[in-house]
Symmetry: C2
Subunit: 567 residues, 2 copies
């Protein structure tokens, strides 16, 4: 399924040209150039105006690239579905005309694109003053500012996770007026395409946390059945629509700041010495549901399954960079861009320190295989970055551009998203600049069997079987897993049943599976099982979420506590 013909921006355009269709002369390079300009001028420019908004088919081609005939042909060229906004019941009135409110023109809305004049947006027929909300936007201030002074409708086609009752009601609470009828953003079948129409088919066993972009995790018991997570069971955390891949024309560009140093195709990458490592990848928000139970959080409510453990094969990034004569002292960071692109043309991006990229012991890979096969589309085909021991967000999928730079990635996801804060920081006082981007992840563990509220038969020896995983970032090995059924009065040491036998000292990237028969008090109707892991730096987990709570709900590594009923 994942090998269906997909196409990159460049590939799509060239195919259209081959069909004799009229296109603009803007190919990938110009697209790219405009993205850079976008990035560089992100503080100055306004994005997302209805008049220029990017109605994304490939996620990166702007609306002005399309002539009508192209649009129609694209429509038939790939089998897309018209995008339908489906509101949940209580939010369905959001954006409807309200007779008691004044009417504004889009011109008036567009004058409110800054903090001095205030920030307005339109949604359907509604006009909203979101000035006070901007810095509380869970997706980050820079993201919401892309729609400032314009319609949010096209953005919400890509970030379809906004179509919830909660968010629509919140939006409506900021309502100030109606939009003049002729300015209302028009959804027409012929010019609105669902950028999610060609997502790969997924395992139906996955629990879906978000459909668009697709985010899903396996049930916990399924997770610990295998040391190497099968691709069908591996959690998916996409930030944007899965891009269209044109294998034949795929290119990876390597640049030093703005200047291209070299381009590679997949075969070029495969010529470098091949390395295979086993590495877990974990989402920064794994176990967020537990932190959110302590105090409410926005964001996907992951259970314990936003982690998977796979073998990854590819070229060492350090080999590629050494081959190009890259010197550590010339740069501070190395940025990665994916082919997944948001409505304003900005690709998914992230960066890691240059020292890690250049350190052969850090084992950063440009990976083309997962578990011995081509990487599945959901996991980054044809090439993804593997930064073992580092939060999933930096393991950029569908990578097609690598930039050596003095600066971290300008991406929203690097600057204003995957960061940790003190429990005292809230959406009113947060300053994302004060915290470093999450890179290596702290030690964690989770109980996968039994699950919460499960009824368990106590064995004759007075024990119940408990299984789970443990992992620590930065190459730290798990050295011990302690489990208690009596709030820490007695700790029992779990057996570490699976670890990577090939890991080198200080380079333990795989997870550890553990298991034990946990003694319990038979007289009790229920017990709460707690687990904590210790890594080779003898770091261990904090006990509660209260003291590590952070507004974005990352780094949820307090003791995992699962209450079960005894039978």
């Amino acid at each position: 399924m994942q090998r269906v013909s997909r196409t990159s921006i460049k590939g799509l355009l060239s195919q259209l040209q081959a069909k004799g269709l009229e296109t603009t002369s803007i190919g990938l390079s110009r697209c790219r150039s405009s993205f850079n300009q976008h990035n560089d001028q992100s503080e100055k420019r306004r994005y997302g105006k209805v008049t220029t908004v990017l109605l994304s088919l490939t996620g990166g081609i702007t609306y002005y690239l399309y002539k009508d005939d192209i649009k129609n042909n694209i429509s038939s060229f790939i089998n897309v579905h018209a995008f339908k906004i489906q509101n949940s019941p209580n939010g369905r009135e959001a954006g409807a005309r309200r007779a008691e409110l004044p009417t504004y023109t889009m011109q008036q809305v567009s004058e409110h694109d800054n903090l001095i004049n205030g920030i307005w947006v339109s949604y359907k027929e509604g006009v909203y003053n979101i000035t006070d909300f901007v810095r509380k936007h869970p997706g980050g201030q820079s993201k919401i500012m892309m729609a400032a002074g314009g319609s949010i409708d096209p953005f919400w086609m890509i970030f379809a996770n906004h179509q919830t009752d909660e968010i629509l009601v919140l939006l409506e609470s900021m309502r100030i007026g109606n939009l003049r009828s002729e300015d209302v953003y028009k959804h027409k079948d012929e010019d609105i395409y669902d950028p999610y129409a060609l997502e790969p088919v997924r395992n139906q066993m996955l629990h879906i946390n978000g459909k668009k972009p697709f985010c899903a995790e396996p049930p916990p018991p399924m997770l610990v059945k295998n040391f190497i997570t099968p691709k069908e069971v591996f959690y998916v955390r996409n930030h944007l629509p899965v891009p269209y891949i044109d294998e034949e024309n795929y290119e990876l560009e390597l640049a030093a700041e703005e200047k291209t140093m070299k381009t590679f195709n997949i075969e070029d990458i495969k010529k470098y010495p091949q390395h295979t490592i086993t590495s877990a990848i974990m989402c920064g928000g794994n176990r967020r549901s537990e932190m959110g139970a302590e105090k409410p959080l926005k964001g996907l409510s992951w259970n314990v399954g936003a982690i998977g453990n796979a073998s990854w094969t590819g070229a060492k990034l350090s080999d590629v960079l050494r081959d190009l004569g890259v010197k550590e002292e010339d740069y501070n960071h190395i940025q990665f861009e994916g082919m997944d692109i948001d409505p304003s043309g900005v690709p998914y991006g992230a960066s890691i320190p240059i020292s890690k990229a250049l350190d052969p012991r850090a084992d950063v890979l440009l990976a083309y295989k997962m578990n011995g096969e081509d990487i599945p589309l959901d996991h980054g085909y044809p090439l993804r970055v593997i930064v073992p021991g580092v939060v999933g967000a930096r393991n950029v999928k569908w990578v097609n551009r690598i930039i050596l730079s003095k600066n971290e990635s300008p991406s929203q996801f690097q600057q204003n998203d995957y960061k940790g804060f003190s429990p005292s920081i809230n959406w009113d006082n947060v300053d994302f600049k004060t915290a470093p981007a999450i890179q290596e992840m702290p030690v964690t563990s989770a109980i996968c069997c039994p699950q919460k509220d499960e009824k368990i038969t106590v064995a004759k020896d007075g024990t119940i079987p408990v299984k789970g995983y443990a992992w620590s970032g930065g190459g730290k090995k798990i050295i011990r897993v302690d489990v208690t059924a009596d709030q820490g009065e007695t700790w029992h040491i779990a057996e570490l049943v699976a670890q990577d036998p090939d890991a080198k000292e200080g380079r333990h990237y795989a997870w550890t599976l553990w298991s034990l028969n946990l003694p319990v008090d038979k007289m009790k109707k229920s017990v709460e099982i707690w687990v904590k892991a210790v890594d080779s730096q003898y770091n261990t987990q904090p006990e509660s979420f209260k003291n590590i709570w952070n507004l974005r709900g990352f780094l949820c590594n307090a003791y995992h506590k699962v209450k079960v009923n005894l039978g």
Copy 2:
């Protein structure tokens, strides 16, 4: 004071020879060879018998090396003091003859040197059956077994920390008889020398946790006065008597397993490129007093001062090893031996993984300067190993032998001492083989001002000034310090007032000093201040000691909690 003429074993012997004194032909090489034999056969051999016991002047020359005339001349050659065992009041009866008990000969005692026959020792006129105690020995089973079937008297001259009421009473509880008068170990002024007689003069402000070996820490407020800890304030943790240093004849031997590869003098080491790093060194037992308050512990009761932050200058071990063509795949570990030697001739020892030693980014130094000057004698003159980010115990002082090996150091301190365990492990069920040796230390922090029970005036703005340090091992940077005065209901972010500005990415070895004016509830008579740090891996500290308690009292990194009175 620290430059007084001191002498190594080899140097001492050569000086004696130069004086025309008769000595055996056993020089350093034979000493060394006998040490190796000792190590290799540690399971089979019995040590410490009265008849062959090492009456250590230099800590390494065995009794049989001495002829009477040498002994007398040594006596006058260096100005030593007779060693006097001084019992504390309640333990003073330990070892005294008890008429109601049977009498044994030393021959009978010596037959009890194994677990099958039982393990006996003598102390003064007493005979003790310590069979059940052996595995509970806080100093480790192998250490106490050195005295099995013999007298413990000479060992307790070196490990003088046994001379406490608690230990003497414990010993007496195992009493089974009296030793025949003629077999009683005899302390005579002319053949008993105090191996601690020539210790350097120390700063009287240091709080002494143990005199012999010398262990002391500065008062907490003094600790955080300077980012670079002055040598006089730097904590001292010696495991054995400070060795006698003969600068002129000092040699560092580098061996591959048993085979010497090369010897260096200090000038040879100084020819390598010189590197200076700022690195904290922390004792594995720092803050043990807090863990011991949770549940009693044996071991030195360190407050928060068993840490210091200095600049260290030396050659990179990786440069030295690369120069010798050492290949990582040939070894697993690199062992270090100090010149400080126990009564049975075994030097202090430790090891680190070979990968760390060979990694230029790990910054392991053979250091000859501390804070820009010769390293003080208490801190390892003329050469010590600096393994930044790693527990103090592996930063071997007075190093004179480095061994590339497949194995970890056989030293007691590597095998059976500096390791962490689950809270459920006690002296009855501990198996030291189950835990890895502590290397990189977990994240920690401490409040240095105010101190416990101090009375603090609340400022007009409702705050009290709080200061301290934070540190994490493995090169992790401290990114945040959170402080609370209300059990975590509100956390306040401290200002990080001093960090190493020259640290490279991922190589932050120095500590961080922090400070804040902490808002407190003025209406309260007292508040408990808590601190926790977060490092660049976003690891943080566990909340309480209960769940990290371990029988040796290491890795005491729970929140530091200081109760103060408000005035």
